[in-house]
Subunit: 168 residues, 2 copies
DNA sequence: CTTGATAGTCAGTTTTAGTGACAATTCGAA
DNA sequence: TTCGAATTGTCACTAAAACTGACTATCAAG
């Protein structure tokens, strides 16, 4: 991004600051609650898990990661007891990634922590202002992703490296 | 993050979507304008460059990256002709990372592209709404970073990998 | 039944992050 | 001023993650 000068940081820089600091707070809190064997990286899977299961290729799409990365993340999370692979009844090629009991507990904990974080911001900004902010953020995210898809039709484009986290 | 269910995505998920799609659009546009030899990763340096120079350790702080990473990024950018290292007049230990002429052109291009992106969102949301949104985002980012610093005092915590971009 | 696309995995290469140590320098306190 | 602690940037090394290409199995359309 271009946060040049001492001037005001741009949309990308701000998004990066929010992302990484929220991510850090979330995983620190999760670790304190006993989920100390998962890393932010696993968020590509955990954030999009559903109780009724989701396909690996769907995870790759929504997270913007290569399917190989999703595969290895699921391997790890399966060893750690967070998810399990079940055959997809509707498609014998596919497997459903389903949360285990521990996975469900993690999901609930993550939702709760994120709610706490957002409530803190809502108090700081005011409930209405925060609600408007989040609505706007949602619209910006949607609009921005649409533009992206228009540009690179078909090409697989793992959004960059989250690794690249210093980036914006 | 926890974007569980089909429910509404949380702050982290939204920030990630914005970050990575903005990042992709920015670097695609930069490439089209001739800056096709830099990657999003280099944003950790480029986004915080200043015409009068900035220290590597300062870059490490603001970008949340290890100083070794900054060092190798600066190595690359120096080879590519975007920056140069100059001795810091005020501290003989330090070196100032200064943009070259090409670096300045890149900075201007990035600022211009980001302005275009933000103007698109401002038109979609309405100028006033977008301005309020960005102010709120700024406050959320500041507040969130403060909380982080409170928790991990002193510890160096490279905010994660931007690479980890699928993450939330 | 053939063709083409999709789902998931395997193996291998390359890139990047993370760790510890180091010399040079600065700063603060005795 | 002199000593010790902290800081700046770099080097060398290890660990981890991303990327590439290929491959089987399955589906879906004609």
């Amino acid at each position: 991004m271009s946060g040049h000068q001492t001037a005001e940081p741009d949309l990308g820089v701000l998004a990066a600051q929010v992302l990484f600091s929220v991510q850090r707070e979330l995983f620190t809190a999760l670790a304190e609650q006993g989920f100390d064997d998962i890393q932010p990286r696993a968020g590509a899977v955990l954030a999009y898990l559903r109780a009724d299961g989701i396909r690996a290729s769907e995870l790759a799409r929504v997270s913007g990661q290569h399917k190989q990365v999703i595969g290895s993340l699921v391997d790890d999370l399966e060893c750690l007891g967070y998810v399990e692979r079940k055959p997809d009844p509707g498609d014998r090629r596919a497997k459903l990634i389903c949360p285990t009991e521990r996975g469900l507990l993690q999901m609930e904990a993550a939702v709760s922590i994120m709610r706490t974080i957002e409530e803190r911001h809502a108090k700081a900004l005011g409930q209405q202002e925060y609600a408007a902010f989040k609505t706007a953020l949602h619209r910006v995210a949607d609009l921005q992703r649409k533009v992206q898809d228009r540009g690179h039709r078909g090409r697989h484009r793992p959004v960059a490296h989250v690794r690249s986290r210093g980036l914006e």
